[in-house]
Symmetry: C2
Subunit: 396 residues, 2 copies
């Protein structure tokens, strides 16, 4: 395998973007990444689009072919990669392997979603299309519903409380308030969402014991990266970021088939594979983007990837160990919670954020000082298809 | 790049399969390929699913995660690849590059579609979702409509007649009648569809000048292949088939933006890339599966890949040069015309058919004697995203 590096990244502010089409979102993020890579007269050989809802929401297929034409990248190869909320991660993975194989030198990976075209129950229904078609979807199971049940089990097994969950929500909203790409650029207080008499109005239950501020918003957005062989990347202007490790694992499609539903085996295995390939351990990571579609997931993933022992992730979050400046800063971007979760974009946006961090180009109030190694976890289904990437700053 | 070979193939009869779900179709074809590969206790590392309509037709996403669980292949990596009617080819491509990179040793690629859940105008509308979302779809352009206009231009430029088109239809139906996997296992006669007074009833116009028997049916079906490094494949029981060449090219999304709409640049370029990688020329190919969604496409592609000069494909077809036993047998399977065109399955089914041919395991009335090199062309959109594979029988 050739070593593969990230030489360009681009992202557009996530949020509600009624004025833009899905194609617009994908094109804007792609152009920013192409510009950032400064390819000059070199062209991209292949394009991978991470997207989940083009067919269901936009009633559109073959969007990769449409995009490559719009970006004037003809005759570059192009296809869409879909893996539920891990579609972005799966697009990065296939771009990585395509460059690693030696077949392509320059690959554009862009993930995007325009989810706010569907609202209310239709948005929940769209997300539910990733559940099992025979034993889950027909019975009305939703992702928030699964997350609620998962949280209850976690609470019973490990003594997690709403106070712990709220600590994650506050941290991620605080960081999101500083991130111009975030959908919800707004701090929240413990008083407002947990302690005051009005907290039930501000922060109503979504799927007990999860409340509104435990869940990510429904967002529009897109993010893109340009990949090339490390040897070429070393000659570019910006510090290249190596994709040092990659892992992916699947687990039973349904939660109820797992021996212990609180054990996210696919997260553990994907992270283990990524660490082994990178020859690094969890303690070597300086910054991480975890898939906090719900606050409980950030806590659970921080344990399963090896930052904390089982049952200690919640305590660590409450103690501030996952804040900027803490032991392991998690979701300094605001995470899915505040940056938003346009499903196809998320896995790519995580890689973009870590690239910003490892290039040391963020403002002081967002930068993890001297970060050299980063981790991303993109969580498909309810943990049934998980991807992890270990990124490393390369000294030029 | 590591050399990558096909060590197992599986396919289910295409047609109307009301009793099976999309997941059933994918699982059946996968199990046949896994069985054919005889992996024993070795497990598959990754699964690629080629599918276009899961979201729109089945209202289902993340089908790759669901499949890998159903096949008991956990914790294998999995994702869906979508590229309109070339989704199957794109799935094979990504499986190929993943093994070539060295990251995975055993990959299952399965393409499938259950299209007959939508009928009438809804089936045409589903296929139209691959057209341009701004300048084609809203104006009601359909794929048969585009093919009709393309045929008219081809007729005017090269003197192609309905007699030439009918020769392709008759050849492919004759071959389909011998293929147990074909959707339409039925011969047709020139008299019945062109010459008799009843031909207008038997073979009504679909999109003038194309008639019913110029078009592929709407089919359900699935096909699968198992890929692994050639060095491992050489130790298996069956003659390994090397993916000797691969090419992919895009062209303008819309036909009207092309300088010469009869020039299918993406077909020429994808085939050229595949031939160069394989170090072979068109004359070295013994059997080809071309993407005859419409009869005119088999003729046009046979020229663009280099079997015949421009304008001579129709003459060659009428002269029988593309029949079994002819200069270059094309679509001995019956092609999309007779085998059917479950869109996500087609690109994989073409590779399965060529593997059957190169292993010399078909009955005499279907086998291209001594075939050593084969070509497949999978045509996305209206030629805006095309994949070509050159396969080669490897001497053990």
């Amino acid at each position: 395998m050739r070593d593969v590096a990230i030489i360009g990244v681009g992202m557009i502010p996530f949020g509600r973007r009624d004025e833009d089409s899905l194609m617009d979102l994908l094109a804007y993020a792609s152009l920013k990444a192409l510009d950032d890579a400064g390819l000059g007269d070199k062209s991209v050989n292949a394009v991978y689009v991470g997207n989940m809802g083009g067919g269901i929401i936009q009633h559109q297929t073959a969007i990769a072919s449409s995009l490559v034409d719009r970006l004037s990248l003809l005759p570059a190869a192009a296809e869409t990669v879909e893996n539920g909320p891990a579609s972005g991660g799966s697009a990065v993975k296939n771009g990585l392997l395509a460059v690693a194989s030696g077949y392509y030198d320059y690959v554009l990976v862009v993930g995007g979603e325009k989810m706010r075209e569907v609202t209310g129950w239709k948005a929940t229904d769209f997300v539910s299309t990733m559940t099992h078609p025979e034993v889950e979807y027909p019975y009305g199971v939703t992702l928030p519903g699964m997350a609620g049940m998962f949280t209850r089990l976690y609470m019973e097994k490990y003594g997690v409380t709403r106070e712990h969950l709220t600590a994650v929500a506050i941290k991620n909203q605080d960081m999101g308030a500083l991130n111009p790409y975030a959908h919800v650029e707004m701090s929240i207080s413990r008083e407002g969402i947990l302690d005051s008499p009005h907290s039930v109005v501000n922060n109503p239950p979504v799927a007990d014991p999860l409340h509104l501020y435990d869940a990510c918003p429904v967002s529009d957005g897109a993010a893109a990266v340009i990949l090339c062989p490390l040897e070429i990347a070393k000659k570019t202007g910006k510090p290249p970021v190596l994709i040092a490790g990659f892992g992916q694992a699947t687990d039973t499609h349904t939660l109820q088939e797992r021996d212990d539903p609180t054990d996210l085996k696919a997260v553990s295995l994907a992270a283990k594979q990524a660490f082994e390939m990178a020859k690094l351990k969890p303690a070597d990571i300086h910054v991480a983007e975890l898939h906090d579609a719900f606050t409980i997931l950030e806590i659970a993933e921080s344990e399963h990837v090896g930052f904390f022992k089982k049952g200690e992730g919640a305590i660590a979050a409450l103690a501030g160990k996952t804040k900027l400046g803490g032991q392991i800063p998690i979701n300094v971007s605001g995470g899915l919670k505040a940056r938003g979760h346009p499903v196809g974009a998320t896995g790519v946006a995580q890689v973009v954020e870590i690239t910003f961090q490892l290039r040391h180009e963020l403002p002081k109030n967002r930068q993890v000082k001297g970060a050299e190694n980063g981790l991303t976890v993109n969580f498909g289904g309810f943990g049934n298809n998980v991807l992890a990437f270990v990124l490393r700053r390369v000294q030029q």
